[in-house]
Symmetry: D2
Subunit: 437 residues, 4 copies
Amino acid sequence: MHTTRSHSATGRLGVLLPGMGAVASTFIAGVLLARKGLTPAIGSLSQMARLDVGSGPDSREELIRNVVPLADLDDLVFGGWDPITRNVLDAARTARVLDREHLEPIADELEAIVPMDAVFDRRWVSRLEGVRVKPQTSKWEQAQALIDDIARFRVQHGCSRLVMVWCGSTEAYHEASAVHASMAAFAQGLKDNDANISPSQIYAWAAITSGVPYANGAPNLTLDLPCMIEAAAHHGVPVAGKDFKTGQTWMKTLLAPGLKARMLGLRGWYSTNILGNRDGEVLDAPENFKSKEVSKLGVLDTILEPGQYPDLYGHIDHVVRINYYPPRGDNKEGWDNIDIFGWLGYPMQIKVDFLCRDSILAAPIVLDLALFLDLAHRQGASGVQEWLSFFLKAPQSAGDTPAVHDLFVQRARLDDTLRAWAQEHAAARERAVVEHA
Amino acid sequence: MHTTRSHSATGRLGVLLPGMGAVASTFIAGVLLARKGLTPAIGSLSQMARLDVGSGPDSREELIRNVVPLADLDDLVFGGWDPITRNVLDAARTARVLDREHLEPIADELEAIVPMDAVFDRRWVSRLEGVRVKPQTSKWEQAQALIDDIARFRVQHGCSRLVMVWCGSTEAYHEASAVHASMAAFAQGLKDNDANISPSQIYAWAAITSGVPYANGAPNLTLDLPCMIEAAAHHGVPVAGKDFKTGQTWMKTLLAPGLKARMLGLRGWYSTNILGNRDGEVLDAPENFKSKEVSKLGVLDTILEPGQYPDLYGHIDHVVRINYYPPRGDNKEGWDNIDIFGWLGYPMQIKVDFLCRDSILAAPIVLDLALFLDLAHRQGASGVQEWLSFFLKAPQSAGDTPAVHDLFVQRARLDDTLRAWAQEHAAARERAVVEHA
Amino acid sequence: MHTTRSHSATGRLGVLLPGMGAVASTFIAGVLLARKGLTPAIGSLSQMARLDVGSGPDSREELIRNVVPLADLDDLVFGGWDPITRNVLDAARTARVLDREHLEPIADELEAIVPMDAVFDRRWVSRLEGVRVKPQTSKWEQAQALIDDIARFRVQHGCSRLVMVWCGSTEAYHEASAVHASMAAFAQGLKDNDANISPSQIYAWAAITSGVPYANGAPNLTLDLPCMIEAAAHHGVPVAGKDFKTGQTWMKTLLAPGLKARMLGLRGWYSTNILGNRDGEVLDAPENFKSKEVSKLGVLDTILEPGQYPDLYGHIDHVVRINYYPPRGDNKEGWDNIDIFGWLGYPMQIKVDFLCRDSILAAPIVLDLALFLDLAHRQGASGVQEWLSFFLKAPQSAGDTPAVHDLFVQRARLDDTLRAWAQEHAAARERAVVEHA
Amino acid sequence: MHTTRSHSATGRLGVLLPGMGAVASTFIAGVLLARKGLTPAIGSLSQMARLDVGSGPDSREELIRNVVPLADLDDLVFGGWDPITRNVLDAARTARVLDREHLEPIADELEAIVPMDAVFDRRWVSRLEGVRVKPQTSKWEQAQALIDDIARFRVQHGCSRLVMVWCGSTEAYHEASAVHASMAAFAQGLKDNDANISPSQIYAWAAITSGVPYANGAPNLTLDLPCMIEAAAHHGVPVAGKDFKTGQTWMKTLLAPGLKARMLGLRGWYSTNILGNRDGEVLDAPENFKSKEVSKLGVLDTILEPGQYPDLYGHIDHVVRINYYPPRGDNKEGWDNIDIFGWLGYPMQIKVDFLCRDSILAAPIVLDLALFLDLAHRQGASGVQEWLSFFLKAPQSAGDTPAVHDLFVQRARLDDTLRAWAQEHAAARERAVVEHA
């Protein structure tokens, strides 16, 4: 009798988070509460969504987690790095995302999760002051320290597998340079302490070279670099980026396909955001906002195809702004004004005010990216996982054509990939049964 | 050599519109301007949308109208009935949808289109007073008069084909009764002047029994009756209903799938509309609003599947209101408040203010339904055309399962049907070429 | 030596509240917390506002409560009646207005306040079911029972003065009838169990004839009746009504004067409200909504004077709607669309979305009306206190001309009355000092 | 017999406008249409507002223009300067504020108004390119050229009086320097071509030294300089500034007093604007936006008095943004989010979306400032006219205390001044009648 070797999700999965602030603490708290049965994991596809499987008369909707071998919430272990946070309970209290009643039942567990000292460099995040920072000043040594952290965490917590999801701040905008051109160049750059290497790149490098899948939740230039693509292929590690698609861009990738489906024209789209958390503070610096802006602006063109529909989408004014506004706290508010036109060119306006919660929307994405990347790893996939674009604001393409932004096409691709793997597993189980008989 | 018999769109297509007010006049004006080359037909799938055809390396996006044989805008002839309107230019001026500059170049053509006297009964639309009304008081004779109108129009305008699209008011709410149970019962009911037979039913009956496809743009109980289904099958006529999906419901069928794709919960959805046109006046009467309300409320459950996702969609408060507010004129404004929840049940709110234009959104739908029903007729299709659900607020199912409301699934089904027909035509052309050679 | 007889605020003031639900419990909780020093009494003029006093070089802003002898928060005692509520802690928990952290420090005090059984009649509030209801079925006996309650409360709690503020539901709409024409007619009506006498009228009657000032916080027909005016004069009791001016109408009496100050025209004003508390449930019944609608619609004409400004305000479409929407709870949301016009008649739109909290806005008004009515009583004032219009949606006039609605004029009149009394007291103190010397 | 010397408004009043774009052309067009009787002058206090006059039983509301001797619309003559505009008809068409139907009846008159070449310097308005610019490069000569223009205009058009209202762009932010310290210093600075002297200062200097009242409709540093105050006093010329209070700030000075009247706390106020006209383009440059931002931010503190009410207004986050967004054209849209708090500190939110029209709101202010400054001049007033603060975003104080921002207090002060002058005129008329008898 054979078993479905290597595919089974047994053993503990360590989830490592560079950046343990509002998003990370909300994510961890939710998983802890969910595994106590105190709440369903709302917003998480891996826990709640269903997939059409079977065909013809056998067609039915099954929970995704019943048809592919995802890690169980009970098997997750949490760790990470942060330049400020003392422990995850503190982080959650500072973030003020969750009410006291949600923190109480898990306060001890949260307090026990203590971030490791961070690789931090203020030149990339001018608005923050790091206090729990690694002493190493050479980038090579910083990378080595992270690799050691990873190895130690794996052993200490008895993890059979690890995955890393960047939950930290947005770094200042910069573009790829020679140091990013290859694994060799990057390794040399680390040794040379090259100024073009940002902290997030050091984390990703440490993860990938340790065989740990990496997801990039910020608009940082991290995985979208030749050196990282090469490394992921070399180490057989799946990666996914970038920038969690939470509030306003999620809405945009929902509305824009709707306009196009109806052949309504678009003249302009003005988006402003107000938020008052650490993220808002960081993005108030123009160089950091630039990273986010570039990540947010790409959405419309890819969806609307102005080349195919010049009368409708040939001339769009697209403006995106983010403002730091302390009264809002973590509760991001996005206000969009959308100028459309219809029959005979008559103008109409859509205004969307989205009173959302940044970390509440991001937390289940952290969970899904962690579990799906881990699954992909066990399925033998490596490199950019374009099928995870659904979760990302500026999805990275695995090939030559740009990644899709349309939320519904993204979801269909996610489902297709999972369905294919589900069929493999179903077939394997069937074979097992037959051979066993 | 063979040709693709019966499928070619040659000859004139008469478009008959019961109800020639704001929507009908905007539709006709736009077609006239478009065929003068003064504007693209924005919002119309038949004129502007593209279809993925071919596969593999041959895959490409073609204009729908280039791959299926739709009637050409130049071949359309317009007619209809109205209890108030003197001519279509008057209707357009009264509606105040279009600016003077858009009416000027086509004023003579619009003025020349004079509605025929209407079958009208104030018991179904208490807020309107009909002045151009057929003298017949027997419903049987009214039906006969309409059948005669249709026949005369066909001959006078040299039409090779006709199609009818209801653009009139919403009738008072009522439910099906014995008189609607079969063709025989309905015919007898007409003779008996049965009080349960509404004007829109008489129009639909006249159309179908004259072999004319019929689309229902209002929430009236018209096609969703056994007698009409039987008649459509008997006469081999395609039909589609009901209620043009224009502003708020369009938005709803766009946002609800987005929530579901992300597994975000929904606690309540409050929708209010203000509008000041004839439609708003009619809907200010509670019995007419009831028809519209029922049409609008069905949307969410079908999309969200509370049975499959009880934690997310098991308890939704869905409220829909319409208020007559004269300052708005034809410019409908829909304000939606959507109460959602995410991770750990934390509430968030989406507010959408849609400053739309009722007739501007409806006009291209009239065009598409007319052209696609005519195409379906030539393709030999009959009965309810569920693939046209995309255009309808309360789409009628052709079978036992309810019709889909998800805008993107609807669009995919529309594309699938058109693609299949496009392939037939491509194959036929290829055969023709081969045999010709 | 003389003292300012009768004017000093010494002794306990009993605040009696017919209707002890969300508003009453929020009011009481806030006072209890404020007198523990845990919060300032935000929103309360009597506690926080300042008055310009003195003139010329002596002009200065003093706290109102420092210049007129208001009852001290420490001297308030709370009581009331309710057909449902078991005790005020329960009411607060059911209302879900206040967080656990605000209820904890005062839970025992709230629990100890137990409403007396109510005079309740479901014909006036069809959506509620009363369970703690007085057994008397004769209205005369009901009035007598309330008068006994008042007398007993006064003795039991050692109150030197009492005041009553209606915090109950909106009653069904009705108009004055013969039974309301005089004290004698009303007394006879009570004996005859006249169907035109509503519960709120019985409460007001009991209060006034017991010498207790009465404020009407709902749009009920209570004080605006000849019998009540006569009774207030006869018993020398000050009264004030009606309908707490909390969210949307407050905003309206703020914006409308602004439009008029700038001579901008008004074409229409559409107001919709959604709320999910007991009040929303009651107002979902058309006969109760009618009371509220009438109360809300009067505002604009009085402020805008269409007679004086026919070009600007001669033709306004004013629509007000309230919808019961459970997800909102006590957090009322008012959405207003205001259609204005300027230079050359060009239209502009103002949209206001007010995410307010009904009870949070009402609670300080309860406090102010109680303290100011008590002050007025001690000042020897009786009858309708028009200077309290600031707090009321449909202020009752004391004379022949309608009461003002303009928020700023109302505030000026309030200040004028208080300033006059402050001067009296200052003069009296000065005389006292002089004579003492 | 005496007459009311110097006070009568006889003869022509020349209205000179530096900057003849959207605002100026809308203003002129409206006045021309109003004097043809085609529209009332909506939004103008001088034309439409009433004043309480008389007292006691004689108290009545009279039109302002009936009780003070304002210039008649028929007596206005228009002129000005602009670096781009060819004539006012062109300007109106470019601005696209007014419809064709409003321009047609006055097209010839508008076309005949040709701006004089402007004093223009791109260093102050980097986004504009001037093409109709005076050849003089010395500031002294530029001033002289303007003074000559003024004198020539007066003669050519037979004006008995002139007034100047700045309708041009916002200049880059700068602060006062030594050159602005006195008339002498400024005159020397002109000769020295001092880089700290901006074009608007040259215009104001030319006006004041020519005895022409000047109003500043932009946030430029112009009148708020010692040299200009000295010059206005020296030449006996009334002046008023700065920055027309049109949309968002008007709303702010309306809502903030309302919050304060009710003692509701304010935690933050976020204001964003989108507009697509020349003004929006200019303000897209950070140095020009800075001028506007400073002008807009001062409003709240003055109104709310945080010193008196620290619990309510002691810590406010106030953010103001303006974004250039071409689809909006001249139709400015202001979106405000206001975070307030009430009883027990519970937070509430007010969101205001103001779909306004910049020039439509500004045009009647231009008219009122012109007529009221001219009146003031004839009344013998000179220097800063603080009573005109009503019309201005950042009103200049005439004394040591800051000018008031509260819209209603401003209006009361305006009315007080006018009432005093009205009484003078009434008394003068009475004396005249008596003496004549």
